[in-house]
Symmetry: C2
DNA sequence: GAAAATATGTCAACATTGCTGACGTAATTG
DNA sequence: CAATTACGTCAGCAATGTTGACATATTTTC
């Protein structure tokens, strides 16, 4: 009676994917754990990592753009950004065109740490790929992208450099 | 001069997998975001979710076992567990054999919420699978498992019910 | 050029969820 | 009965998120 569908009502009665849910949880925990351990030696946390990462990936980023990526408040960002600047991992300069903007750049020290962190996490991906055959990387890419909110995918694709932001073209 | 390896030294000079690193970050954020919104309506956070989830999955779990899964301190656990019990989402009974143990069970209300949360997250997986072909689920499983620390995989496999804990066999 | 809007910084207070350390109590074990 | 085990609890601290209010510099607009 409930519904006309005998097999499964769009997934309301079907069994949850407990395995994937739990695997995603453990996989992500181990993934960030790699970075956590290195960050600790600098007195930094995950929040610092995220800021350092995106600044290193997009030198010249402004505060507003960074806030938009991280989706936190300026107060939260400022707390960690201040430390990163104080410890000379990041530099802020007045915007080239609009001097109200602050453009963020990693210093040599900051670039090094950002790269080391990325390489740590890359190592985990690389080890995972070894057990997954030659197409593992593409499949991981496709799976992860498919897990992102559909209306966020465009922005994410731009971020990771897979899409031209339609500038001059 | 740097090293003898011209192609790439085990991945020390190779380009980091920035795309996967960032995709994993955004995918996981959206994944937990689904649950966050529902939890908020109950005044619960992610910590409550994890406790409710594992108790619902393994009724009769003891405090020590739960601590071992979550890898947090008993004080952290107790804080959220106390609320879940107070609000009647979880029940704690003295252990059957050893009365020092507390065995945890979800109430009807707790089971319902746990299932709703799992279904929300399952929906995201299911939508992702639609774009990935028939083998998407297995590939996602394999990828996620491969991302887990190798020495943790056995435990995780048991948790998700893919491995007999070698009891009577 | 004065006024309004924009980009950012900062202060204060609070919530969630980790942590450590110390101590208490009930139940079991030796 | 003493020691161990399993758990609960109190107190305090840290990281990182939040709101709200207000200051300052710069650019835009009328």
């Amino acid at each position: 009676m409930k519904s006309a569908a005998p097999a499964q009502a769009s997934r309301d009665e079907a069994a949850p994917f407990y395995d994937l849910i739990e695997l995603f949880f453990f996989a992500y925990r181990d993934f960030v754990g790699d970075a956590d351990r290195l960050l600790e030696t600098y007195g930094f946390g995950r929040a610092h990592h995220r800021v350092l990462h995106f600044v290193s990936r997009q030198p010249g980023l402004t505060i507003a753009e960074l806030l938009d990526i991280l989706k936190i408040t300026k107060q939260s960002l400022n707390r960690v950004l201040k430390e990163l600047v104080a410890k000379s991992f990041i530099e802020a300069r007045a915007g080239a065109q609009d001097r109200r903007h602050r453009q963020l750049f990693t210093t040599a020290k900051g670039s090094r740490l950002a790269r080391d962190l990325a390489l740590l996490q890359t190592k985990r991906f690389a080890r995972a790929m070894e057990g997954l055959g030659p197409e593992g990387r593409e499949r991981a890419f496709d799976f992860l992208l498919a897990m992102v909110d559909p209306h966020e995918r465009g922005r994410v694709m731009e971020l990771i450099g897979m899409k031209n932001p339609e500038r001059g073209a």
